[in-house]
Subunit: 224 residues, 2 copies
DNA sequence: TATTTTGTAAATGTTGACAAAATACAAAAT
DNA sequence: ATTTTGTATTTTGTCAACATTTACAAAATA
């Protein structure tokens, strides 16, 4: 028996599709996007595409110059700006999660940790590991139970992933990061907000340090 | 000599207009908004209105339930959630402003402070004082020179104003707040990031305390 | 009378057409 | 050679018409 499934409205689909396309770096940073070409690519009319573009502009993944819309072209300054905000908000998320997580949440958290461990020992590709990393951070902000924080962290995470793909290519930090995740998870599971917050803050600092090392290396390369 | 002025596109005008209307509490919290009625009210078609609605949904001033769109109906929990984020981000803004403000910025800051003082001594209406309060906080986040932070603070500020108007009516804290502003301004002008951050954090805490007092009073009223 | 079913009105979803504006580029003037 | 002007093209801005969904009331049925 066939059943009719109601698909999402086009502007939602367009938003998700274009966002994914951006995060996967299928457009070039700085590239101009036109409503017509996006509409043609998605097989829909310009109306829903315009709505999706407005949302992506709000997210900062697209930028407007005059009447035209371009793919965000991030610079080191943008990374530093984002990390200053992230360093304030994400430890708050960890603190709240340590207070608010429930049993199903703890199970999910443990599941993500063990999946990450096996992915690392199996030497899975970076994409898989990056995805589990995202799952870990998403889960924690979700269990902060703070709607406002969740919304901000979603914005930060999307930009973070995008900037990483653009500026660092497929590089991911392999060493230590799983240990830091485990320590954070332990603090949350043991309902220790102070420890969860501190550990998350250090985790983010270490993450940014890696960026700086990589970025300085690349700067050095350009001088050759 | 006449000069041709190009008016903004309708979706921008609609966004600004509806946002202002919301902040001034001309709609009721929880009220359903329809594209058709908004379009008729603004004298434009539904297309640009839809784009404006998408942006306001992203801002959290409107909420979607199913296919319909409603005016955000904030609860105390929403205030507390917002203030947790604000308490993390705005002190960061003050810290950065203390590092990055320039001479014109210092002049603007002093100007706002003195305008506020005269407005208070003139017993101007709450609207005027609230507006100067907003100017003060906007200026500081602007001189953080952190684009990401500025964007977040804009979202926080809009929601903050809206929630204040909805939940507190036209009440504004009069005592102390100008002194706290002056101390923060001094710290920024003297380029003392640590002091600026600490003072801003206390300022926000005091602000939230006022909310709690008022809110408890109102709760008490309802029990009568 | 209780329960479906059907019909109708109102809302959103989507499109294609046309207008206006910005842009690119070639031709003409300096 | 450089600037200016005019024109063709592209892109965004806007609208009105139509389709679909939804909610709800009215009518039919058991």
């Amino acid at each position: 028996m066939d059943s009719i499934v109601k698909s999402e409205p086009f502007h939602i689909q367009a938003y998700k599709n274009i966002q994914r396309t951006l995060l996967e770096k299928e457009f070039s940073p700085g590239e101009q996007l036109t409503e017509t070409s996006l509409a043609k690519k998605l097989g829909i009319s310009r109306g829903p595409v315009r709505e999706a573009i407005r949302m992506l502009l709000h997210d900062g993944l697209l930028v407007q110059k005059g009447v035209h819309v371009y793919v965000f072209d991030p610079q080191l300054k943008d990374v530093l700006d984002l990390y200053l905000c992230k360093e304030r908000l994400e430890p708050l998320g960890a603190r709240l999660a340590a207070s608010n997580i429930d049993e199903p949440g703890i199970k999910e958290l443990n599941s993500i940790i063990s999946k990450t461990e096996s992915a690392l020992s199996n030497k899975s590709d970076n994409k898989e590991i990056a995805s589990l990393n995202t799952d870990f951070h998403s889960l924690i902000s979700k269990y902060s139970q703070n709607q406002q924080l969740i919304q901000f962290m979603n914005l930060i995470r999307a930009k973070n992933i995008y900037m990483r793909n653009v500026l660092l290519g497929d590089f991911t930090r392999k060493e230590n990061f799983i240990d830091e995740h485990k320590n954070i998870a332990d603090a949350i599971i043991n309902r220790n907000p102070d420890a969860a917050e501190t550990l998350m803050k250090e985790h983010i600092k270490n993450d940014l340090d890696t960026w700086k090392i990589i970025f300085n290396d690349q700067e050095g390369d350009e001088k050759l």
